[in-house]
Amino acid sequence: MTDSGNFHIPNDRYYDPVNHLWARVDSATGRIVVGLDALGLSALGDLVYVTLQPVGTPVRRGEPVGTLEAAKMTGDLIAPVSGILIGRNELVLRDPSLVNRDPYEGGWIASIDPTSWPKESAELIAGDAIPGWVKAEVERYQAQGWI
């Protein structure tokens, strides 16, 4: 776990540095479980809506797989990896505040059967690179007065 200020970022997964999404490999299935990280949530605020494409939809890294709304502000949920949308957290779809309350476990959002994981995982932040990235992001947010 990397802690910086009030932000907890687990070290056991990958991070999309642009959209502040996490991606964790489910070792049992090889699927990629996706959620929002603490920094991304601090920017958005309390989620009131999450929508997702239907299960079976092909998704491409960097393209929308669903939508979000917090503080009367909507946005796209961007897929951090390419593949087939294979799972949706129905609890989160019914109660999006679960993402804010438990972002790394119960608040996972979607799971994707990846088609380009070896290539795309190299574009994500992982392992030893996480603490430095978190530190830089927190400093960037602080410098802008966002936190």
Binding site: S42, A43, G45, A71, T74
Partner: protein, 335 residues
Amino acid sequence: MCPRSNRNVIRLLDLGLTESWRTQALYHAIAATMRIDSPDTILLCRPREPYLCLGYHQAYDATLERQECERRGLAVFRRRLGGGATYLDVNQIFYQCIAHHTRMPVVSRDIYKNVLGAPTKTLRRLGLNAELWDANEIEVAGKRIAGTGGGRIGEACVVVGNLLFDFDYDMLAQLWRVPWESFRELAHDALPESITTLKQSIGPLPVGVVQEILAEEFANAFGRPVVRGDVTVSEEQYARELATRMTSSEYLNLHGADTVGPAKSLKISARVWVQAEEVKVDGHQIRASFRVREHVIEEARLESRPARIWRGVEVALRGVPFNTWQRKLLQQRIH
């Protein structure tokens, strides 16, 4: 004429009084086609005909009385932005700010703070003690005086809002889909108590004066020159296409296809909600409607089968934290 290549200049599009579809579709078209070298743009406009606009995630049939909207000939749009359903007419001035996301803050509350500083200061220049409350609500004396919403459309960050010169409270109350009529009555009563207008606060004002101040304050808020410009032919054409989509039955029914009933919670302002609850107590099936201000019950209406007079309980529920109302009800029934 605003040069499209100068990124420091903000383009001001003054649409004046215009067709209702242009007041929604144009800003969507400009946002959807925005690239990093596009000019950030502010639109100011008023709709010639009244209409309704759903927030992106709202379910039509949980929010509005579809048949009533049709009977009154009111067009309904779905916007790509957040917030709740709005009744929009000529007595409101709309401001719509579209900026490339790289030129706006990342954090939602800072985006609102940046943009909503302009309408807030406009109201102050008009002599009102306006302030931003709860990140995105502009209030005068504790009452909402404007609506706001925002979102990311493509590469654009968009914030929209309106200033209310006057407001048809009765019309909006008739158009909501509600679980039962006592809920509608509470919501109707809550409107003038929670939402104020320029007419009520100051008196009649010329639209042009307010619009001029608003444009000046946007220049101040962004610290950049605001220069009048024109809608391009391609923006206008794309807006026509989007208007058709935004009012299509497919798009209006985009969310909540499985919705069977009306929403049981209605936001009147950031401080005030109307809530519906059902509970069975001592053989009475109770339908309760509450007006809740900052989590505390302000007014309650109870009706039941079999019928009973609940006046004493309704009075006792005033001032009770909303999340404890059932406990209070159980205490009261003993007496």
